[in-house]
Amino acid sequence: MALARRIANLFRRSQVDREIDAEMRAHIEMRIEENLAAGMSPDEAHRDALVRFGNLASTRERTVQADAALTLESIARDLRFALRQLRRSPGFSATAIAILALGIGASTAIFSAVNPILFEPLPYPHANRLVTVWDIFKSQRSETTFGTYRELLARSRSFESMSTFGPWQPVMTGADKPERLDGQSISAGYFRMLGVRPALGRDFVAADDVFRGPKVVILSDKLWRRQFAADPAIVGAAVRLNDDTYTVVGVMPRGFENVLSSTAELWAPLQYDVATLENFNTWAWGHHLRIAGRLRPGTRLDDARSELNRIAANPSSAFPRPRWATLSGGLIVDSLQGDMVRAVRPALLAVLGAVLLVLVIACVNVANLLLARAVERKGEFAMRATLGADKARLIRQLLTESLLLALIGGALGMGVGLAGLQVLVALSPPGLPRADAIALNAPVFAFAFALTALAGLAAGLIPAVQTPRVQLQPGVQQNARTAAGSRQWARSALVVSEVALALVLLVGAGLLLRSMRRLLAVDPGFNTADLLTLQVQTAGHKFDNPDFAHGAGDSARRHFFERALDEVRNVPGVTAAAFTSLLPLSDDPSWVALYGAHFENDDPNSGRNVFRYAISPGYCQAMGIPLIRGRFLDERDTADAPQAALISETLARRQFPGPNPIQNAIGKRLHVGPTDRPWYTVVGVVGDVRQTSLEMNQPFAAYLSSEQTWFADDSLSFVIRTRGDAAALAPAVRDAIWRVDKDQPIVRVLTMSRLLDISIAQRRFVLVLFEAFGLVALVLAATGIYGVLSSSVAERTREIGVRTALGASRANILALIVRQGMAVTALGVALGLGGAMIASRAVDLLLFGVSRLDPITYAAVAALLMLIAAIACLVPARRAAGIDPMQALRSE
């Protein structure tokens, strides 16, 4: 590593100094020896030597300068020479630079995207002390209750502060169109816990967060700019939210990133009535809040985890707990960052692993190219060695060339990375945390440049180590065969590793592709084509249920929705329309729609959690959910009629095992939710529907007439079956609803096929990246095989000529070369299959309906690689078969 040492010498002058000192000391001592031999006294001999030498200090200084200045100059000369060499073979240089740029660019882009999510600390002071707490309810992670929060707040000692918060989606009126906003209701210390302060106005204080406290709100910078034109006098102004007047008390800073709810644009205090905790049958004991806290300095996450779980396991009489919040399953305590990335971490790590594989393949490929070039340039190096260039000098020259390649590749790779990052952000699935923080930043630059240098050194190392052998050869003759064996061996080893790595990557891509196929083959249980959906929220005091007029608000709500539905059905192009409280494959939170279902004669302590759908007549028909037996709900099922319900097929089969479960279900009676109301009678059994996602099979469902449920849902989703383009009807449908009441916001206007796309977006994102990387790896591996065989054919021209002269047929020669290429490929495939069986663990969590050891995928990928390899073999093999024996024998 001559060059490296020289560069290092510039910074470690002491070592250069030592060497110069040793050289001069040797000189003086030799003079002294001679003087002594000539008969001088030791003193005299010493003095004479020094006098003859001259000024030791200044000589040493001048010598050091000569070394340092000229080292820089000689690096520049090496660089110029390397540039000239690269220009001389543009094909090689362009290929190598393109491969490096691709490898470095892709890894830079991916690392940039992953860095703020997985590795960078969150944008809060001492972010590592922030933790989140989840309840475990029926062995599933679940939101916590307000009661649990109060108990943990009072009993735990690990936390400097603790906050609770929940979603809040108020409707803002006053502008030309009503708008439903995303916000959070928070306990007063929420922002202080995170360590952020409003940029304008004040934070919430304890006095804000009390029952019937002041109606105050803090705005995000974005909302402040969008709705209030960044009015600096906004603090103290009034806004209409949910038909109430709120006072703006603060505006958050522009850079505030709220990772606990990234879409929230405004905040209001929670204002819980602590007194209601005494009664378990209140909202305060529902699982609908989240908890986050800041640990005391010096407290470790593990300590906090064990403390909270100790509290969970030891109830105190001061804090009674209801049956559904016993905390007997323990609590999930995780760092805020760990909690945030929980859902995307496996996908991101898999993508990161894939891109690193691509980078390694790129480096191997470039090393291979450089090695091939070293073989071609053997004559040149032998000549230079003969002319007196020393070994160190040649190695330095080669390393300079490969470093230069890597640097140019790295610079271009930066460009590729920037472009790739834009593509990544555009492709990124909704719900990717911290997507706004993704940027090509300093650590990413550092990472890319470290990679660049490493790639250059790695690629330069192999030829540089091999070249000195050239010097052992006698003379300058173009003696190709003697050293060819070992070098060919090294190149074959590189190709084997390329094939193996490509196979690992392709198996990953194949498994993901098969998962996607399996997933898309899942029947959602309804017809997703030509279906427009939108959600209508009702807001305003006209829908309140005051004590003096019980149910007045509910009937106003029902009345509004029914009139809106009538208007929608009259829109030209609409063939069927209906509404539901819970829309399949949407982001409707499932926890608010899961209710216990108890059939008549069930054990009172048993029961199943079912999705409750409050629907209008015609819902199943509009969705295309098939009727299996009985009848659909229709206009008969009014508030005064006997209570009727539809249940899903699987619920019927589980509930009534034995012969004819479906038939048995009809006419049975059940409660959905509260048990103190009249029974619902099953009038029909309908097909199962995928509610949360295509992956999740949660087939228990009950459909009730919206007029016969015990409360009127405040937001309903309309499903509208259309002739032709569903999305095109959206404006007409919206206007129809606003003709009934212009103050009701309409949100999430999406076709069902779009909702389906969104639900598989993350999976598709990972798949697209794996496919792209797999393709690159495949091309690189094929290039490697082709390159090795080509140069092997060139080196064996004479041997092939002899074989042909001795009677080998064209087919024999073809087979000879193809066999050589396929042997290398087969070894790579065998190693790759082993590697893939281990590496596929990385994508295990992303698979659906296919094992990570799926033999079909492995076989198909191996076959694909063999096929591509065979094609790559064929070109050099045909060239070999075309060799004219006379010419080949004469050429040397």
């Binding site: 110069i20 040793a22 050289e23 001069m24 040797a26 000189h27 001592e29 030799m30 003079r31 020896e33 003859r52 030498f53 001259g54 000024n55 030791l56 000589t59 040493r60 001048r62 010598t63 300068q65 000569a66 070394d67 000229l70 080292t71 100059e73 000689s74 002319l387 007196g388 260039a389 020393d390 000098r393």
Partner: protein, 123 residues
């Protein structure tokens, strides 16, 4: 001559002399290495003295900046090795480039000597 000009002239003159001297030293070293193969600095000094019949006595230390400069330029290469008296010393040898340089330097030195002779003879 105005003082300023005088000073300038003097300095220029000095530089010329120095360059000349340096060029001559390089020539002597290169020639020595051509004759002897590989040699350490002390050996080079001895050889120059001996070969010039003690006419040329270089200040021994001044050899080293020149040696290092020539090594960096690529005219000579070095290697640590043991002397006959079992001492570690840095041995220098000529490179192909150095050989070419030596040839050029010899030719231009011959021209210089011829020129100076001619002038002296004419005078």
């Amino acid at each position: 001559m105005p003082r300023l000009l005088e000073k300038k002239f003097k300095r220029k003159n000095q530089n010329m002399a120095k360059n000349d001297l340096q060029g001559t030293l390089d020539l002597l070293v290169l020639k020595t290495l051509e004759r002897t193969g590989a040699l350490h600095g002390y050996g080079i000094v001895l050889h120059i003295q001996r070969a010039s019949d003690e006419l040329l006595r270089v200040e021994e230390g001044s050899l080293y900046p020149a040696l290092h400069r020539m090594e960096q330029t690529g005219w000579i290469a070095s290697e640590w090795a043991m002397t006959e008296t079992n001492r570690k010393a840095k041995y220098y040898k000529l490179t192909a480039q150095g050989r070419k340089q030596l040839q050029q330097a010899e030719e231009s030195f011959d021209q210089l000597v011829k020129g100076v002779r001619a002038v002296l003879r004419f005078a």
